[in-house]
Amino acid sequence: MKRLLLLILAMLIAMPLTASAKKARSIDELAKMYDVSSCKQCHPKQYEEWEKSIHAQSLVGTRRTIGGFKGMIEGGLMKAFTKAGVKEVKDIKLEHLAYCFKCHAPHVLKDGTDELARELAEAFIRADAETLKKVSINCIVCHNTKAIVHKWQDGEPEPGVIYGSKEGPHGDPKYKTLKKSGIMSEAIMCGQCHGLGPNLEFPQPSQCGTLYGSYLHSYVPSAGIAVETCQDCHMKKDNKGHLMPAYRDKDMAKRAVDVEVSAKAYKFLLRAGDSIPMAVVTVRLTNKAGHRIPDG
C-alpha cells in the first residue's frame, strides 16, 4: 500500500514536469522544436524562396518589426499600460506578448513558456536581430500550426502531420504524414494574420495589418466573379512561390497600381489682360490589387 501511494505521489509530481517538458523554455529549444532544415532536402526551391522572405524573419521584419516590439514592450507594457502588471522584463508572461505573437510567432504561444517570452522580450529590447531570426513563420507554422481554422470540423492540427494538397506518407522522420488542408489555397489561410481590424479578443487590443478586411469588404464586392486569392497574386503569377513578395518586389509593384499622367500647357484667362501661363497635370491612380494600398 505504501509502495502504491509512493507510486501515485511520484506520478502526480512527474505529470506536470512531463507536460512542461514539452514546452520550449528558451529560444534555442523552440528553434529545435520547429527546425525546418530537413524540408530543404526535398523542397529546395520552396525552402530557398522562403529563406529570402519576410516570413523567415517575422520578429525582425525590415527591422521595423523589432522596433515595433521594442516600443510595445518599453512604451506600452512598461509605461502606458499601467494595469498590465509589467514594470520590468521579469514581469513579462506569454499573455503580454500574445497580441503580437498571435501572428508574428503563433508557435511561441502554442509551445512556449513565460521564460521564453522573457528571453524574447530581452532580445527585442537589445534589438538583437540574429537571435530573433531563430524564431520565424516557417514551413511547420503554416503547414501545421496555422493549417486548420475549422477546428470543430477538422480538429486541432495533429502532431507529425504536414497539411497541404495531398494525402499519404511523408518522407520526414518527424512529420511522417501528409493530410489535405481545407484552406491552404484559400485567402483565409493568409487572412488569419493579414488581419481584419482590432484584435478585440485581447485585454488590450492591437491593430496591425487590416489587409484581409479590405480584401473581403472592398476587393471582393468590386471584383465580381473574377475574385482571386492572395496566393494567386503573391505566389502563382510571376512564379514567386514561397517568397510571397509584396511592395518590395518590382513585378508586384508594377502590377499593383496603374498610373497615367497627362500634362498640358496653356494660357488661362481669368479676366481680360490677366493671361496666366499654366501647366495642368492630371494623375490617374488605379489600384489593381486585391486590397487597399498600403496595408499589410
Partner: protein, 114 residues
C-alpha cells in the same frame, strides 16, 4: 509631384499621402504602433479597383514688367519638367530607396508654352 524649369529651379512641389490613419479609439489624435492603434479615423489609401484622380495647376514663373508705359507679362521660363513619382514609403521621410521607400512609378513630362 515636382515642377522644375530647365535650369533646375524648382517652381512647384506637392505630395499626397495615401494611407489608413488610426487612433486608439479614445480620442482624436492619430497614432502609430500596432499596440496602440485600434481603429481608423480616416482612410486615404488607394482602394481596390478605384481610380483616384489628382489635378495640379502649376504656373510658369512670370513677372509683370513695365514696357513703354504698359504692363507686360514676361514669362521667365517657357519650359518645365514635371516629375511625377509614386512611392511606397515606410516612414514619413523617404529614406533610402529599396530599403525605406520603393518607387512604384516615376515619369517626367516636359511642358512648354508659347
Amino acid at each position: 509631384m515636382t515642377a522644375k524649369t530647365k535650369d533646375g529651379k524648382e517652381v512647384f512641389k506637392d505630395s499626397k499621402i495615401y494611407m489608413p490613419q488610426a487612433t486608439n479609439s479614445r480620442g482624436d489624435a492619430m497614432i502609430y504602433g500596432a499596440h496602440f492603434k485600434m481603429g481608423y479615423v480616416r482612410d486615404t489609401s488607394l482602394q481596390p479597383f478605384q481610380t483616384r484622380v489628382e489635378t495640379y495647376e502649376i504656373k510658369f514663373p512670370y513677372e509683370d514688367v513695365e514696357k513703354e508705359g504698359k504692363l507686360v507679362r514676361d514669362i521667365k521660363a517657357k519650359e518645365m519638367d514635371i516629375i511625377v513619382e509614386l512611392r511606397y514609403q515606410l516612414d514619413p521621410a523617404p529614406g533610402e530607396e529599396g530599403k525605406d521607400s520603393f518607387t512604384f512609378f516615376k515619369t517626367i513630362k516636359t511642358v512648354s508654352i508659347q
